[in-house]
């Protein structure tokens, strides 16, 4: 008998076992939807760039993306983490290189530039038919609307307020400031907190980054000044100069700021407050979570910005946005994920974890936000919230960083006067108004 054609018992068993494995694998493939979400053949994943300033966000976003991916079977969201310091640079390189992600998380002051580059998808039609459209705070919509086009979804909103140490108030026997406090009261408190020989200062002034210029601008608004009026740059008006001079005197004359103020950025103003070097600083609600850990929930509180001589005050409103790019390969998928992030549960989870304020009124009204003393100052600031005037022209955001910040640093160091600083800055802004 030809052995090549014979079928031994062993070979038969091997063949049957092999066929069984193939059949089981096949069955598992058919039953895949019952085991794990199945990706539709050919569906493009959604590339989502997320900038990370601290580790909490990674865990949070991983869980939210995973939950979204499990909730539907058509495509997957792939998250790409980028350190926050490089996020803008990477996006610009990706846009100019023609391969931006489908979706990204950015602050609204960048979106204007990206829109100017012609890179951002107009989502007006989708947004206006979205179920939560009417629930989003109108000012939040303003921050993401350019020339009547909605270009992003506001994931979270922020307003600037003043953080202050309640424990140091008690220690020094000082009177608790009230939400309608004035510049004079702010200065008096800053002086009372300052004990330079003990390395303690009243106010953590910011000298680095975009907000180094935005904070004094908010003080200028409290003195009746504006950045743009009737289409003209008026940031060098007398009211603005007087207000900025008063602000700079906190460092130059009253010396209630740390000596490092001219280069202190976000990390430094938050850290010095946490370590007890400063007792007040200006920031949005984004650092409240960190201060709860650093200082303790019962040892600090927040207030709206103080009322200025013009009996006014303003707090600039910013949005953390989800922005879709024109070059997105899966626009429908990107939209589904964007809108998912603003649904009740993800929005609540996101904002409570990071100490931010949600853009939707119905979520914002929940006690977790409205009754939290660490957020009280920001919730009370809603009536004085205005869209940052520097969002008016796409080129202004970049000019603040490249020209405005060095100018305000010079003023903080006494190298130029408030007037000279604002005159030069006004000229720079005028050139970028085309």
């Amino acid at each position: 008998m030809d052995e090549r054609t014979s079928l031994s018992r062993r070979k038969l068993l091997h063949t049957l076992a092999g066929a069984g494995v193939i059949a089981a694998a096949d069955l598992a493939w058919w039953d895949a939807p019952f085991i794990a979400p199945r990706r539709a053949w050919g569906a493009e994943p959604v590339r989502f760039q997320w900038s990370v300033p601290e580790p909490t966000r990674i865990a949070l976003m991983n869980s939210l993306v995973e939950r979204f991916n499990q909730s539907q079977k058509d495509f997957a969201v792939q998250i790409e983490y980028v350190p926050q310091a490089q996020a803008r640079q990477k996006l610009i390189s990706a846009i100019t290189g023609g391969s931006p992600p489908d979706l990204c998380q950015v602050w609204d002051n960048w979106v204007g530039q990206f829109n100017g580059m012609g890179a951002v998808e107009d989502i007006t039609a989708r947004a206006k038919t979205w179920k939560h459209y009417a629930d989003v705070v109108p000012t939040a919509w303003q921050t993401v609307t350019i020339n009547s086009k909605i270009i992003s979804l506001p994931l979270a909103v922020t307003l600037d307020g003043i953080y202050y140490r309640t424990d140091r108030l008690k220690e020094l026997g000082l009177k608790e400031p009230t939400p309608d406090w004035t510049w004079d009261e702010f200065l008096a408190l800053s002086k009372a907190f300052t004990k330079a020989d003990k390395n303690q200062y009243g106010y953590g002034m910011r000298g680095s980054g975009t907000w180094a210029l935005l904070y004094p601008t908010e003080f200028a608004y409290a003195n009746g000044a504006e950045v743009l009026k009737d289409g003209k740059v008026v940031i060098n008006s007398k009211e603005a100069v007087d207000a900025v001079a008063w602000y700079l005197d906190l460092a130059l004359k009253h010396k209630v700021t740390p000596p490092s103020a001219a280069t202190d950025g976000f990390v430094e103003i938050v850290e010095t407050f946490g370590r007890g070097v400063t007792s007040m600083y200006q920031h949005n609600s984004g650092s409240s979570g960190q201060q709860k850990k650093n200082v303790g929930v019962d040892k600090f509180a927040t207030l709206p910005l103080p009322i200025g001589p013009a009996k006014k005050r303003a707090s600039f409103w910013f949005s953390e946005t989800l922005t879709m790019f024109k070059g997105a390969k899966n626009k429908e998928g990107a939209w589904q994920f964007m809108s998912f992030m603003l649904d009740d549960e993800p929005s609540l989870k996101y904002n409570t974890t990071l100490g931010l304020l949600p853009a939707r009124k119905s979520i914002l009204d929940r006690p977790v936000f409205s009754k939290d003393p660490a957020l009280a100052g920001f919730v009370q600031s809603f009536p004085i919230g205005i869209v940052s005037p520097y969002l008016a022209y796409p080129g202004w955001g970049g000019k603040i960083d490249s020209d405005g910040v060095p100018l305000i640093q010079q003023a903080m160091l006494g190298k130029v006067s408030a007037k000279e600083c604002l005159d030069r800055f006004a000229e720079i802004l005028k050139k970028e108004m085309t």
């Binding site: 100019t96 490092s260 202190d264 080129g395 970049g398 960083d401």
Partner: protein, 309 residues
């Protein structure tokens, strides 16, 4: 019987062996040349082209050829001249001190002592730490309110008040140069140590027998024999430092008030904050020309020194 074989005439090759050998040699270089072309020459040409256009990314409608417009703007830009001056201080301050201290470290490490191998390894530490990490560490050390440097200096009585090292326009550049010196010493130490080990002991012994002192041996033997390494290491380090923006970017961001803004950080700022790629392109081209001019001048001045051996 004898058989006569007629010699066949030798066919003359189409290409002579000399040319063929030359062509084979060049063909080996083609892959490397193509890589250089794609990664060095093409980007330089693109940067030159970019510098001749009004290319502000958020104003695509204004994109147009403006010839030397960006270069004329650069000449009138006071911040550019300030950054050029800062670059000179940054580069020469850093490299000179790195060289002197690195040389001293190499001479010490050349001596025989217990634990030399360990010390040599530890000397490399600052060099192997990434630049961004070095920047963050030193920013923390310099921090005026809770940094170690101020704390130590006050404790030992050398200072009465806290100094804002990175926030003072008079001190910031010195502070970042100091950090760069700390980081760069191992580079010179290791390069020069390798050179020192190659100097034959017989030369020192002969000089010693002839009555040459320590300084004379250093001046007439060590220094001349190390010249080739010194020339190459210094030129390389100067070019690196000119382009090295990490430390300044992390520690001061060019501030306060542009006190530490060097041309390479200013170029980054123009490209990625103002999105003015045309102007950033012009700055890059000028930076390239400055470095080419310097390298040419340096190599011309030191011509022949590298052949001392």
């Amino acid at each position: 019987m004898t058989t006569l074989t007629v010699a066949k005439p030798r066919t003359r090759p189409l290409i002579s062996w000399r040319v063929r050998k030359l062509l084979i040699g060049y063909s080996y270089l083609v892959p490397a040349a193509l890589c250089m072309l794609a990664t060095v020459v093409v980007p330089i040409l693109l940067a030159i082209k970019m510098s001749l256009y009004a290319d502000i990314l958020y104003k695509p409608q204004d994109y147009r050829f403006i010839g030397l417009g960006n270069y004329l703007r650069l000449v009138e830009d006071p911040v550019f001249w300030l950054t050029l001056r800062n670059s000179v201080v940054w580069v020469f301050g850093s490299v000179l001190l790195q060289f002197l201290l690195g040389f001293a470290a190499a001479l010490l490490l050349q001596q025989a002592f217990t634990g030399r191998a360990l010390v040599r390894t530890l000397t490399l530490l600052p060099w192997i730490i990434p630049g961004v990490v070095v920047g963050l560490i030193w920013e923390w050390l310099y921090q005026p309110n809770y940094g170690v440097i101020n704390d130590l200096l006050i404790r030992v009585g050398l200072m009465q008040e806290r100094v804002a090292w990175l926030s003072s326009p008079d001190l910031a550049m010195a502070a970042v140069v100091f950090t760069n010196v700390w980081r760069g010493i191992p580079f010179f130490a290791i390069m020069l140590l390798a050179g020192l080990q190659a100097v034959p002991d017989e030369l020192y012994e002969a000089a010693h027998v002839d009555g040459a002192g320590v300084f004379a041996r250093f001046w007439h033997i060590t220094l001349p024999l190390l010249r080739p390494i010194i020339v190459v290491a210094t030129a390389t380090r100067i070019i690196w430092t000119f382009n090295y923006a990490d430390l300044i970017f992390v520690m001061t961001g060019g501030g306060p008030a542009n006190a530490t803004q060097i041309t390479s950080t200013y170029t980054l700022l123009q490209a990625y904050s103002s999105l003015d790629f045309g102007y950033a392109g012009a700055l890059s081209v000028v930076l390239l020309l400055v470095m080419l001019a310097f390298t040419w001048l340096y190599l011309r001045t030191t011509k022949g020194l590298e052949d001392t051996e």
